[in-house]
């Protein structure tokens, strides 16, 4: 952003001009007693804020902290108007003089983002502005004492002469100022208590210096009421003033400190990971190096397309804005895992990147272990599900036999018994009973045939996948297009799995899809048998909802195969199975 850079340089130049004006005002002042000191220190403090603020602004253009710090510098220069010998300029300088203090309160409360949180911080800053510019107005108008040095011009804003009332108001505004300082200090201390270790480390210089300024400010405000001696007030004021002067440098120190500690932390991390005696888990090492005890590692499973934990369980990476940040770790251009860390560290992305790079090799090793654990877990789950599926199939077979063929055979037995009793006395009735029995027997046979096919189709064993799928297509209640089938036989388990994928899919098409048309493709692709059944129906199939598709997925998992279901609502359904197969080059 060269435009911004030019603008900030120009702003700094304006700051230099202000500093020059400041020097001129001091040198020509009739009431400044320590001209040399004021002419050197005053401009340096102002330029310190303007320069550091502009630098922060340039580095983080979206962060408001830089602009705020620059504003403190310019407010400081405006305060130098009290060096003027002109009564109006002097009085105006006295009136706007506290602006830089209010801005300092706003700055320390909005560190590090530059934005004030709603609630206490915002309320404190609002009260500070009102105290400084609304409540003090009567002090000026009622001819109050401006507390200037000897020889300073008179209050030029006085309309009514009532210094008693004015000074009472002055005391009240000072007390309120003390309240603002105390509340600010409380917020800062509470914030430090709630901060995560990386936040604390990054904020420490700014926080402690800011707190010193605020405490000093508060004590000066309270000195009259509490009755602090002039010496103590002077000392406290001096300490607070020094802290204020070095505030920009504390901010810079915070930056340097995180940078410097980052280099040290990553160096320590590499050393720790490579020294067998001190070797700890990668997570612990990274957590120590980044100072984030909540840090988590997740490992990428390419085959499954998601992250897993070290134990091999599936892991979701947190969303943006959840207070957690994610740094992907790559090795040789391939994703191996990710570091999930406290979002406060995002202010220092180079540190996380450096740590991630240092940890990539070991993360890759742990990824392989996690992958293995995930595989074992998957196998255990799928084995258990296979047992469940096979139990379920046996239950279904028993029920089908009981409700179907067995009932028909019962009826048949009863009808034959009746016919036997009627055969001599009432041959006509006996004949009708025998006809009914024949029909019953036909239906029983048909049901048994259907059942046998569901267990294992004979045509598949005898004639192979092509013929078996042709038979399925012929029995389907809708037109089914068949792509040419592979001519060679596939391994028997692969053929059986492929057959049931087609059978189950076509059953689902007929039952649920309202499709006009379906097509089946079986091919070989790079060591896999690929089976695809698609239709032009209503879509919306959910592979996790019914037992059918899940049973298929388990059957395939037993062969290391995978089932994919694409079924957007209204967009038809594609069921695709990939089964590893040695002869499927």
């Amino acid at each position: 952003m060269p435009g911004l850079r030019r603008a900030l340089l120009a702003l700094f130049f304006v700051g230099v001009l202000c500093a020059a004006a400041d020097v001129a005002l001091v040198l020509t002042s009739d009431h400044e007693t320590q001209k040399a000191l004021a002419a050197i220190i005053g401009p340096l403090i102002g330029l310190g804020f303007v320069g550091t603020g502009a630098f922060a602004w340039w580095r983080r253009p979206l962060n408001r902290f830089g602009p705020l710090m620059t504003a403190v510098g310019f407010a400081w220069f405006i305060g130098a108007l009290t060096e003027s010998n002109e009564a109006v300029v002097y009085t105006f300088g006295s009136y706007v003089g506290p602006l830089y203090l209010v801005l300092v309160v706003q700055m320390v409360l909005s560190f590090p983002s530059g934005r004030l949180d709603a609630g206490w911080p915002r309320a404190i800053v609002a009260v500070a502005y009102i105290d400084a510019f609304v409540l003090t107005l009567p002090v000026f108008l009622l001819d109050g004492n401006l507390n200037g040095p000897d020889g300073a011009p008179d209050n030029a804003f006085a309309i009514v002469h009532a210094p008693g009332v004015a000074n009472a108001i002055d005391v009240a505004t000072s007390l309120l100022g003390f309240g603002v300082a105390a509340a600010t200090a409380a917020v800062l201390i509470g914030r430090r208590r709630n901060a995560t270790p990386p936040q604390r480390r990054a904020q420490a210089p700014m926080l402690w210096t800011g707190l010193t300024v605020i405490v000093g400010l508060g004590l000066v405000f309270a000195s009259d009421t509490v009755g602090l001696s002039d010496e103590v007030t002077g000392l406290v004021g001096f300490v607070g003033f020094v802290a204020f002067a070095i505030l920009p440098f504390a901010f810079l120190a915070g930056l340097v400190r995180t940078r410097y500690s980052a280099a040290g932390a990553v160096g320590g991390l590499i050393e720790r990971l490579n020294t067998p005696e001190t070797r700890v888990s990668l997570r612990t090492a990274l957590s120590d190096a980044l100072g984030d005890p909540t840090l988590q590692l997740v490992y990428w499973r390419e085959s499954a397309g998601h992250y897993v934990t070290y134990d091999g369980h599936r892991a979701e990476v947190p969303e943006h804005g959840s207070g957690r940040a994610v740094a992907e770790v790559e090795r040789d251009g391939k994703r191996v895992g990710a570091i999930v860390y406290d979002a406060a560290l995002r202010d220092d992305p180079s540190l996380v990147r450096a740590a991630a790079a240092a940890a990539a090799l070991q993360l890759e090793n742990e990824r392989l272990e996690a992958e293995l654990r995930a595989r074992v877990e998957e196998l255990q789950t799928s084995r258990a599900r296979l047992v469940e599926v096979s139990m379920g199939e046996r239950r279904r077979l028993e029920r089908d036999l009981h409700d179907g063929a067995q009932q028909r055979l019962v009826a048949l037995s009863l009808q034959l018994g009746m016919a036997r009793r009627k055969v001599e006395a009432d041959p006509a009735t006996a004949g009708r009973l025998l006809d009914a029995s024949t029909a019953e027997l036909q239906r029983a046979l048909e049901e048994l045939r259907e059942l046998a096919r569901g267990i294992h189709p004979a045509i598949l064993t005898d004639r192979g996948l092509g013929a078996a799928i042709e038979a399925l297509a012929e029995r389907a209640p809708l037109p089914v297009d068949l792509d040419p089938m592979p001519e060679d036989r596939l391994p028997a388990p692969v053929e059986a799995a492929a057959y049931f994928v087609v059978a189950e899919s076509l059953t689902n098409v007929a039952k649920y899809s309202s499709a006009q048309h379906a097509s089946v493709r079986v091919g070989r692709d790079n060591g896999f048998a690929v089976i695809e059944v698609s239709d032009d129906g209503v879509g919306g199939a959910d592979p996790t909802a019914g037992t059918g598709l899940r049973g298929l997925a388990d059957r395939l998992a037993a062969l290391d195969g995978r089932l994919e279901v694409q079924s957007p609502p209204g967009g038809g359904t594609v069921i695709r199975a990939n089964i590893p197969c040695a002869t499927c080059a």
Binding site: H402, Q406, Q407, R408, L409, A411, L414, G417, M418, E440
Partner: protein
Amino acid sequence: MTTVLIVDDHPTFRATARMLLEAEGYDVVGEAPDGTTGIAAAGELHPDLVLLDVNLPDLDGFSVAQRITAVHGAPAVVLTSSRDSSDFGPLVAGSGARGFISKGELSGAAIAELL
């Protein structure tokens, strides 16, 4: 004439049993496809005999038999199933039913023997 209520979820069996029993001089006064309807029908129709399937879709046939026979002046209950009585062990004896006839062996004479 002995009045009969048939409780069975298979319509084929209900139709065949009705035909068989009527041919052998029984009066089939009602049919019910499940246990709950069967219990209600037994209370309304007061048949002499309930021919009750063991495997019903809602209730277990044995508990249906217990509930029908628990009432004073209850009908006689005969359990039936396409399974064999040996599949059920002591359940038949504990159900309050008069006995068990395998579906394939159902006849007027077999029922008369139990009554």
